[in-house]
Subunit: 185 residues, 2 copies
């Protein structure tokens, strides 16, 4: 089944969140070479929080990697936690919200040409404000979140089309949510 | 606007496709630390090829990173080419198809918590077989592609829901395609 052969493997870089493995390989066509794989330490979780009025709750934050502001669904590393617990924690920390109904929509992998980065997608409904605003503000500041927005579903689709949402995982999570909510045929 | 400060920056790992930059930073909440960013050498391109009967052309290949078979839209690195030219090349190499109509649907970034990986999404319509089957087979073997499948749109959505498609970029590209094709409200 696996058309690749791995001859050697070494850790070329490591920090608390990611590591890079460099393997000597024989490729499917028989060529010799190396393959560098960036592995994330823990799976990530992505939450699509949807209100009773079919608004999606999005967070706005500055991304260090891209040097740009980004509008995204709440997300984060699972830090070794059970994915559902991590999803609940991220939703609370990033938006101050809790949800009565949770549904795991699926799993995905990001950038699978060069990364091993498993991810879980959740739909959160029955939203209500949780702990006090001061605590939420402190946690949002630590995460670099500058705004939380509730955007009607159809407007979110317009923002995707117009390039206002460019986070790949947010797009993928929205596809899953759209299917689960019966908005995609 | 940028709530992060970068104090030092070094290349911690590098190969022909990716590199890892490790920066010493001050985080938005004032904490000191490091940030490892994996950068791809060139943007990647993702093509959603759609037939006149609204079938999506998907390729099946083994992914070295995950150790699994994956069903995906045709994609690849742009290798420094213009993204549209790269998209045409990848479609041809991976499926043996050419397209009369090309539309760039948008840009996205993958795994933006730890990566700088820009990506372009294209819709390809007016599909027709291009060069001979023997050449296509050789190119597919080099890319590790074991099958090309034409799947009706509604069946593709079922495969997303049921977990048969887990490539994050394919999911994101399908959202853009669904919006462009008027299948998402």
């Amino acid at each position: 089944m696996n058309p690749w052969q791995t001859h050697t493997s070494r850790i070329a870089y490591e920090n608390p969140w990611i590591r890079v493995r460099e393997d000597e390989v024989t490729r499917p066509d028989g060529g010799q070479g190396i393959y560098g794989v960036m592995e994330v330490r823990h799976p990530a979780v992505f939450v699509v929080p949807v209100t009773d009025d079919h608004e999606v709750v999005l967070v706005e934050l500055f991304r260090y990697t891209t040097g740009q502001m980004s509008l995204e669904v709440p997300s984060g590393g699972s830090d070794g936690q059970d994915p559902l617990l991590a999803a609940k924690r991220e939703l609370l920390e990033e938006t101050g919200l809790e949800a009565d109904e949770w549904e795991r929509l699926g799993g995905m992998v990001a950038l699978n040409g060069v990364c091993l980065a498993p991810e879980h997608i959740f739909l959160a409904r029955g939203l209500h404000a949780a702990h006090d605003g001061a605590r939420t503000n402190a946690e949002q500041e630590a995460e670099g979140i500058t705004a939380v927005r509730r955007v009607p579903w159809s407007e979110v689709m317009g923002m995707v089309r117009d390039g206002a949402i460019t986070d790949g995982e947010t797009l993928a999570a929205l596809l899953h949510a759209g299917i689960a909510l019966g908005k995609i045929s």
